[in-house]
Amino acid sequence: MTLLYFAWVREKIGISEESLTPPANVRTVDDLMTWLASRSAGHADAFADRKLVKAAVDQVHVQARADVQGAKEVAFFPPVTGG
């Protein structure tokens, strides 16, 4: 699974992209955030307040309860501010 991080999520984690294989018990976006938060101080910082972090699975916006099993690309980022 490719993990992508943008804006301050990227800055806190310290990298923009990583390739990981989450354990089988990681089923949802929320599970994935819990698991990622355990991987480094930067990850923990980025996911400290999950209400501030949005997610996209295979380039489609999703809620925290969305399934990530079988996903190729999961992205985490703050609320968007384009336009």
Binding site: L4, A7, W8, A56, Q59, F77, G82
Partner: protein, 158 residues
């Protein structure tokens, strides 16, 4: 069929809003009404509004691939709701300078109500759905721009 090529562009290079609108008019000679919205980086250098630091530059981070996909999806949605002849979305990324255009939305229809509503719908939804993040550089340093709850509320109206 018009309107199915070149409807979405995400680019680092500056673009010329007037030239883009003229090109859009030229490719839609049968559309009576063309609505557009241009978002430009405000020039805070000379006129420091309502306190705060003067913003000298801006960086727009984006999610390549998803940005284009999201724009295509928004246009497809607008086409379902209104009688559109054509739509165009251009969005910058990377480093921007004051008074440069950030985004252009243009819509063409035989009916002005459709062109106007679709244009407003596209910019409203783009503000809450398009994966772009603004970082402002001022004399006080660089800071990510916070999302506005009013944007979320405006998009939900549709």
């Amino acid at each position: 069929m018009p309107g199915h090529t070149g409807n979405v562009r995400v680019q680092e290079a500056p673009f010329d809003p007037g030239a883009e609108i003229n090109g859009f008019l030229a490719r839609n000679p049968n559309s009576g009404g063309i609505a557009s919205f241009i978002g430009q980086m405000r020039d805070f250098r000379g006129t420091d509004r309502s306190g705060g630091e003067k913003v000298s530059a801006m960086t727009l981070e984006h999610y390549p691939g998803m940005a284009e996909k999201q724009f295509e999806a928004l246009i497809a949605d607008a086409r379902q709701r209104w009688a559109l002849d054509d739509a165009l979305l251009i969005h910058r990324h990377g480093k921007l300078h004051p008074s440069e255009a950030i985004v252009l939305v243009a819509t063409a229809s035989a009916h002005r109500a459709d062109a106007l509503s679709a244009c407003e719908f596209l910019i409203d939804w783009l503000k809450t759905q398009a994966p772009f993040w603004k970082k402002e550089v001022s004399s006080g340093g660089a800071a990510w721009v916070a999302a506005q709850s009013t944007d979320e509320a405006r998009a939900k109206r549709w």
